[in-house]
Symmetry: D2
Subunit: 369 residues, 4 copies
């Protein structure tokens, strides 16, 4: 086992600290013959890159990815793919005043309690910078999925920021790429801009909810009872920095449904079963139904704020802290491409598992010929 | 990898189908020297056992556990512990009329799509009966925890059934064992009884939210970045039948908090850091803080209801279905001991991991001597 | 991880002690749709069963296997298969006099040093009885292989007992089943009977070398660089009780070859590459070539002998020991079906891995059409 | 699972191809607080480095290692350590004429059959260059072992080259570092130099046997029954390029011993049990006894020779091949530091596992106080 790895057959190990020389992902299990180059992966890193607008941290990172192994003559070889991203803007002086104090709501205290090591350079391994490695691995996963299941489409967007939710009736997928919040609702985008501007100016921060949808996923992915597709998705999303909740389909609201309402009725379509609704979020018993896979996760507000909070030092002295570094008023924004990347990795992994375990024509529903 | 296993060092593999001869758990990695016998484990199985009141399925199972290996002269030996439970009340005729039809909202359709096998006997492996194996493994984990960290206390209870939530201000831990819903609120217990009676009589079902709290957990458990304590808890809970959402601490509501509100301020207590609040649910950066670990999960309503729903057969013919078997109006009730068991397994696992990876005196916060 | 498990996708966990109520194998990852029943597995257990002739331990075990899960209506379902074997002849009084003394050359001292537990009942978990679970799992693997690669044939036999080697020029496969030693050489069988009779009467024991060959294995199984087919075979064979060495193809003698002699020259046959020789034992770079897979392993003599040896007690007192129980003069005999079982498990595992990772028509050698 | 990873808690994933931009090792699970810098690891890489004398390949690689993560202020932090080595001398033109032909005895044919990809650049991932990553990881493991068990000493040397064995009676540890073959016998060193000179000039190659000994290893490492110390050592050594056999203690010769000879008698020493001999190679039942751990492995001759051999092309045409690149007449020489590295990794891994699973004072043998 490796606590810095995830996935069963598509196995991603991320490494690197926020202010070390580089970060990256060591990816084992990518199928051979997948056409891929650095640019394809760069595309997704650029989407996540900080400093692109006033709503994300002003740290300036080129986030340029290099493929050091596993790709030859433009295709994957089946051997490990090393994706390396150099850190270029580590201005560690920014973090000087938090060198000995723990930030309330931040992992620096628990890392210290676990390891006895204080890597004060911008959060070290606990920094959201680690998620760049995930996005790179996810970019690779997307290319592999294209060769295995070309109809799959993964799309992430914000559905809530602080108290402000999107209007589901005004859902407009085309809008997602047009605003800095990846929000599928033009009006919300405007309102949220105002709201976040206020927060940013006051040095505050706020949480968010992100939804990731995968369309075109074949039925049969996922494996009972601890290798369930939703189990792996829950783990994948919960492993993202600052995430405190994960939902599949109805999520926590499933508690409020009766059996009649919750049952997605089944019909026979041309290509297999069709459903009247999707309360299940595309997963039953841990296995995909062929419907859209729908996952949501909540991101808490960043702990780096300009308001004074009470805390302690490494030596146990009580004191106060205020964080002046470059931070995100809503880290949830950058969590959108990260969530998409995790979805891509989990889906590819289960596609590989499914091919490994069963024949691909099993369980076809329809009249026997 | 084994999709029917969970845990890193405390590794539980469950096996068995609802209507086969037996079910069980093969547990590897239990530390040696833990005093345990069948009765200690039976205690927890009895808590989960169906048929104890009118609110759970009337299937009558003795659920008697036998320890077939790994225990000698009253203590664990460090070798695998086999926990076996025979199935005694399999009345499979009950399930006859659903032999060829898929239940909307049930996993039988996806199992068939994945495996090409139709185990119509009460859901086969996808049945909630599998959770008895988890409870047995959890019972063993609890005994091991007692020897490693005697102060740990795990407590589960319902906080919501359908639209009805408990009154947090009326929280009374003593009440939990006094009602069939494990609800810590006497008034709610009464109201819910009426509500569920109505549902049961009409052949309907409803969802629920369960909260599991672990007290006395030492700081430092959990490992970045994919072996996080909350990642493993999310996976553990999401792997339980019918669960659609998992929350740690504030959970989905973290989206609504600002950084100021979310920051649990830190003070210096006699035995280490103390916190002003617990929005984090006892986990920061995936590592325990020493506060209460707080997890919630939502269980959807069972798909076995007396109302007719539209569905299809194995051969793709459209039809209708109504489920007449013995079922739970609120499967969430029996999920309480299951959630506790998963918490116990995850905590023990991380205790073993923590001992393996770092010195036990690392990262002590306080004045250097 | 589970130290009592092996295999990647075909994952076998064995459990149980020599003198507990039962032993067994929990097998996860068996493909669905494999026709199997208890009799098919019993066939292989009968081959290994002790007490069948005067050359193996006189412990009388029915070794009757029951399939408790994972098989429905005569085929595997894709869920875990529990194979249970009850212990019936545990006469533990036999072991009374070795309760507090450690046997030189036996694992009871190291188990005690590791676990602090003394399971004196016939070796507990370290007993060769554990290998019955392996044989049961191997029987299941053989049936699965039949459906995936019907041409594969696995055959094990002894090639050396003590100083006596078989005559390779007199190799006669038909002879293997005709003598109690599984030796493919009629003359050797006779000589060995005399030799072993002498040893048995004097209460001595001796080592052996077993060779396992798999024919009809497709090219492409195995994965660089730590999931090599030979790496997994080496681990599988070394994990068998009393094994001290493992060889692939030329094995240790490869040290004596020059590059010219070692190079198996390649020709083009009708169905793919053909080789002039098989020094490689069917594996190059950890991946199968399509030739016979050839593995050998050496088994040390059992430590239970009638000659007095010096030893110590649990309390560190020096003393002497003589072992009077029922033991095998050459445990290597019973290791033959165990080695076959391990070969079957490893091959099936890599067949599943190969299907999972790459297209099945990749790397076909021959003229492009 | 990741087929390019090994180890349980100390988990090493190597990546990179012979002629790509770089190779390296991603190491997860190194305990925190281990003092380490690049120089300490460089020490071991220098030992393995090719081109140091006329007996190893003339490829000139600086083999300079950089630590990109996991170390801060001179100590490990507990997070993944990325060890990167750039490839500088890739002269790929050398390999031009073998671009489309398969070398008999080389993995290029099986890689092609598995992956459908032909990475002709010096063997790609199957090149012995991958072992530099192992040596780097082993260097890190050695530093961690120093902090956990300072008495452990690991020493590797050649005991056989072609038909020439060392004289065990002339064993002189001090000699190992004085000759290019790491042979503990001055006379053998001279003879072997002459022998290998002859082979080198004729463009031939030869195999070898290497022995790795670990002294000062505490009793109790290793875990039954598939996580045995010898099982993991067998896998580790067999995973090294060109290895065809692995032995523990007596190894294959155990077949020739009787029970009386094989039994290492036990006495009581000051610090615990002492043994009259070490046929077991320091391991009983998969668990260390406290004696020297003794492992041997055989390396076959390199397939790159100047003698013409018959082979086929990618398109299945029969042809001849002769390999003119820069190659080692005896790759076994460079396998010595690689075997040491694998021993270090396996021992550290089991030290961490042992700490995780059991109390450190368990199973102490001696008078109860």
């Amino acid at each position: 086992m490796s606590v810095n790895s995830f996935g069963h057959l598509f196995r991603v190990t991320t490494w690197g600290e926020s202010h070390g020389p580089a970060i990256g992902a060591t990816v084992d299990g990518c199928p051979p013959g997948v056409p891929v180059d650095a640019e394809m992966i760069q595309h997704w890193l650029d989407k996540r890159k900080p400093g692109q607008n006033k709503y994300t941290t002003q740290r300036r990172e080129a986030d340029e990815v290099r493929i050091l192994s596993g790709v030859f003559e433009g295709v994957t070889t089946g051997t490990p793919v090393q994706l390396l991203i150099e850190n270029t803007d580590q201005r560690s002086k920014d973090y000087g005043d938090i060198k000995d104090k723990f930030r309330p709501g931040h992992a620096d205290i628990t890392y210290y309690q676990k390891y006895g090591i204080r890597d004060y350079r911008g959060g070290g391994r606990s920094s959201a910078r680690e998620t760049a490695s995930r996005v790179a691995a996810g970019g690779l996963a997307r290319e592999a999925i294209k060769t295995l299941a070309p109809n799959v489409q993964i799309s992430g967007y914000m559905v809530q920021m602080g108290p402000h939710k999107i209007d589901r009736d005004a859902f407009d997928a085309a809008e997602i790429e047009r605003n800095p919040f990846w929000v599928p609702d033009a009006k919300a985008a405007g309102d949220w801009a105002d709201y976040l501007d206020g927060l940013r100016k006051s040095g505050s921060s706020v949480g968010a909810i992100i939804e990731i949808v995968a369309r075109g996923v074949p039925a049969g992915l996922g494996a009972p009872v601890y290798g369930k597709l939703d189990t792996d998705l829950a783990a994948a999303m919960m492993s993202i920095n600052a995430v405190k909740g994960v939902e599949i389909g109805e999520g926590m609201s499933a508690a409020m449904l009766t059996g009649e309402l919750n049952a997605d009725e089944i019909f026979m379509g041309q290509d297999g079963p069709q459903y009247s609704s999707n309360h299940a979020g595309g997963i039953l018993g841990g296995i995909s139904t062929g419907q859209d896979i729908v996952v949501r996760f909540a991101v808490k507000p960043t702990s780096s704020i300009l308001t004074t909070r009470r805390t302690i030092t490494k030596d146990g002295e009580e004191t106060e802290i205020i964080t002046k570094g470059r931070h995100d008023p809503c880290v949830g924004i950058r969590a959108v491409p990260v969530g998409e990347a995790m979805m891509a990795c989990v889906l590819l992994d289960h596609m590989l598992l499914h091919r490994g375990q069963v024949g691909e024509n099993r369980g076809k529903i329809g009249p026997s010929k």
